[in-house]
Symmetry: C2
Subunit: 218 residues, 2 copies
């Protein structure tokens, strides 16, 4: 493995609880960032520690967020406040024969560092196009693009995906030897995010239905 | 509305971005805490700001977590570190006719305060039974209960659900007047958490399959 595709652990990203679940594969970090629509951002402002949810997306080795210039979080992060960005995908409940051996299957990432503002309007628009691609591939060519007023009122920030703690649990129940014979059901109850039937709104006349809408529902 | 069922805003829970989405109904906070399996906990330890995912559950007006006594997060929180607990349920992508009017439907809660350890072993076990009820109703009567060694090695902490910022967005696309006639599809692409087919493991012989397993899959 070379530096390009692995994550070197730092003091705060060394996983101490269940270290066997630590994952240093950069592609797993990318998968989690890409699959999650929302992250939670921890930061301190004044006397308060916050944990604010926001939509995010990825471009190369950066996680991006956006928001109004006036947002408390945007202002704090743009000023260089230390941040931690957490994302977790819950994949299932793991039911063991003993109460204390129950667990969950999940894929989680916590990214540490400092956000930097994307300064140039062209760079902001390019980043937001990548966000639109995550939401609906190709829609950036259909929706009315942002105008100068909209772009100027919006901040785009990014944080490097270089210092991250990634943890993956994808296992069957693990009971102690002495519990294996108990007449208790054991197994996994899977959970996943699925897509429902699209709701059409204000699409009278000749508005074509894009493929990403036709193919949305599971 | 009386004090029992509403949340009084404080400086840090007053929602400044899109204040019309603020929700002060305590039952909505309970719904979000109950439906989410995992929260993210922001806290500061030494020089670092963390955002650590963990499973949680609710009993009355408290959110509970548990972990190994040795866990860095458990130790920091048990010592009275200020915390913020974030949970978000993503309900859909809202596609408007203009790029900057896109949004998401979601229900989010951020709980502020300090955790307190549940000291007594009987109280810890009662709290963990409530957790088991969230995972699988009735299973607390089937799984092998925790023994003294397991209980003593585990910390249970709780935080009051009194200071919280709750935000709910459940809307159709909202475009500016001048964009309404654009020939662009608009609507909502719903997302939800669904349940997959249970995986049976080490259940040979006469192990009965509980109703919560039979009825699990959507």
């Amino acid at each position: 493995m070379n530096e390009r595709i692995t994550l070197a652990p730092t003091a705060r990203t060394t996983i101490r609880r269940l270290p066997e679940l630590a994952n240093r594969d950069r592609s797993m970090l990318h998968e989690i960032v890409d699959e999650a629509y929302v992250c939670h951002i921890a930061f301190v402002a004044g006397d308060d520690t916050h944990c604010i949810p926001t939509a995010h997306w990825r471009k190369d080795d950066y996680l991006y967020i956006h928001g109004s210039n006036g947002s408390r979080m945007i202002k704090a992060l743009a000023a260089g406040t230390q941040a931690a960005v957490g994302m977790t995908l819950v994949d299932g409940l793991v039911l063991a024969k003993s109460a204390f051996s129950h667990s969950m299957n999940y894929r989680s990432a916590v990214v540490y560092g400092v956000f930097e503002p994307v300064q140039d309007n062209a760079d902001k628009l390019a980043a937001l196009d990548t966000f639109m691609d995550k939401i609906a591939k190709g829609r950036k060519h259909e929706a009315r693009p942002g105008n100068d007023k909209e772009i100027n009122a919006t901040s785009v920030l990014r944080i490097a995906l270089t210092e991250a703690a990634v943890k993956v649990s994808a296992s069957l129940p693990s009971d102690k030897e002495e519990d294996l014979g108990l007449p208790v059901w054991a197994g996994v109850l899977p959970l996943k995010t699925t897509r429902g039937i699209p709701i059409h709104f204000n699409c009278n006349g000749n508005v074509p239905v894009p493929d990403y809408v036709k193919n949305w529902a599971d």
